[in-house]
């Protein structure tokens, strides 16, 4: 009888743990499926980059370095029909070199844009985050990682460039590559907590995203 009772409790525990694990594992696919068409592909003569659609009017948030000297930019979003049907002209509304942020606006955007929202909640160190972008041209790719640290007034620069950048960033262990630049870093609710911006090639898991705090400053001022 005692053994039976013990088995019952063990079974209950295991069931809870299994369901918790399943729900955790299911978070990635859920977020990707819900948010992937809120990520734009920015194409120009300078190369590919990612962008986050943040308004139904077609405002797109991305990196400054993704649009700098990137002529003839076009935006491609996921949608029904051919690529041409989902390609849009874009104009640059706002730039901040020091924060490495840029705001674009689609010309004649469709009405049914999937808009990503900005979270005002700061992620804990160690919390799970999700990135969607176009690493090395592998369009609309998903990656999963963790927040490693918060870095305030962090300075960085890019190779072959004289500009230096300073902003609050999240150091993260989320795989990003060229082409992820400007893409959204999402929390467990699928809301933007940062813009994936840069990483150190020689290191492992040292990648960075500009924080929402910087985005708010950029949008308002």
């Amino acid at each position: 009888m005692k053994i039976n009772k013990l088995n019952y409790k063990t079974f209950l525990l295991i069931t809870i743990m299994v369901f918790s694990s399943i729900s955790l594992m299911a978070n990635g696919p859920r977020i990707f499926n819900a948010k992937v068409d809120g990520v734009a592909l920015i194409m120009g003569e300078g190369g590919l980059a990612s962008g986050a659609i943040i308004s139904s009017q077609g405002h797109i948030l991305t990196n400054w370095h993704a649009v700098d000297e990137n002529e003839d930019m076009e935006i491609i979003i996921l949608g029904e029909g051919e690529i041409e049907d989902n390609t849009y002209q874009v104009k640059v509304l706002k730039l901040s070199q020091s924060q490495d942020l840029a705001l674009l606006k689609m010309i004649n955007p469709p009405r049914d844009l999937n808009v990503l929202q900005l979270s005002k909640v700061i992620p804990k160190i160690g919390s799970t985050v999700h990135a969607i972008g176009h690493p090395e041209g592998e369009v609309w790719s998903y990656s999963l990682g963790y927040i490693s640290q918060h870095r305030e007034d962090y300075e960085w620069s890019y190779k072959d460039s004289d500009e230096t950048f300073t902003a609050d960033v999240y150091q993260m262990q989320t795989p990003i590559n060229e082409g992820n630049s400007g893409g959204p870093l999402l929390n467990k609710y699928g809301n933007i907590i940062g813009i994936n911006s840069f990483g150190y090639e020689a290191s492992q898991g040292l990648n960075y995203a500009v924080t929402v705090k910087e985005i708010v400053k950029f949008l308002v001022y």
Binding site: S55, K120, I122, P123, S127, D168, V216
Partner: protein, 223 residues
């Protein structure tokens, strides 16, 4: 040899009756004992249920804590009116706190417009003091959220800073697929002569805009 037969029914009945009485006494005592024990049994089961509930709560709390986000009050400060809610509020309800992006964008646009105008005004003060500016223009951009048109522009031309405007006009820029913008002037006022361009189906079609959108945009002309 004789065989004696005894009638023992009376004894049997007596024993049977005694047995029934004993059974009844036993049953009554069982009920009494059960009533006495019931609260203790209930307490035992309640304790077990409480333990299981606590266990589930602890596991849930651990999972929630592992996934939760810091409700840090220090980092996101109130940089704008739309962020009146502190980022430090508890977020145990399972939903995120989001920023009103539209409000942010509007505030940013308003600030950009203001800063552009103030810059222009500052320049105006400097240049008028030096008395070198002639024939200058002031543009007012009015936001318009149409399908194609995103702003209506009102321009005013002045001969010198102290004179009234010598001409005014109201127009929209309509972006075309080739990237070049086409302008459509709704109203031109040139020294009190007001000319309004009729908005026809043909004109709307040529611009790639609906006629109703053009009419709505025209209603924003403030001249």
């Amino acid at each position: 040899m004789s065989t004696g037969i005894y009638n023992s029914s009376a004894v049997d009945n007596y024993i049977l009756e005694q047995s029934r009485r004993e059974q009844e006494i036993t049953r009554t005592r069982s009920i009494e004992n059960y009533i006495k024990e019931a609260p203790y049994v209930l307490m035992v089961w309640g304790g077990r249920l409480l333990a299981v509930a606590l266990l589930i709560m602890c596991i849930g709390w651990a999972i929630s804590n592992a996934l939760s986000f810091d409700r840090n009050t220090s980092n996101i400060t109130k940089t704008m009116s739309g962020m009146s809610h502190s980022a430090g509020e508890n977020n145990e309800s399972g939903s995120d706190q989001v920023i009103d992006i539209d409000e942010l964008l509007k505030e940013g646009e308003a600030r950009d417009t203001d800063s552009g105008l103030s810059e222009f005004n500052n320049n105006q003060e400097v240049t008028s003091a030096e008395d070198v500016v002639r024939d200058y223009y002031i543009f007012d951009t009015i936001n318009f959220e149409g399908d194609v048109i995103d702003s209506v522009t009102v321009g005013r031309v002045y001969e010198d800073p102290s004179s009234p405007s010598i001409s005014q006009y109201c127009y929209v820029d309509v972006p075309q697929i080739n990237g070049i913008k086409s302008s459509f002037h709704f109203i031109n006022i040139n020294i009190d002569v007001r000319t309004e361009t009729p908005i026809t189906d043909e004109a709307a079609r040529a611009l790639g805009v609906s006629k109703s959108e053009l009419l709505q945009a025209k209603s924003h002309c403030t001249i």
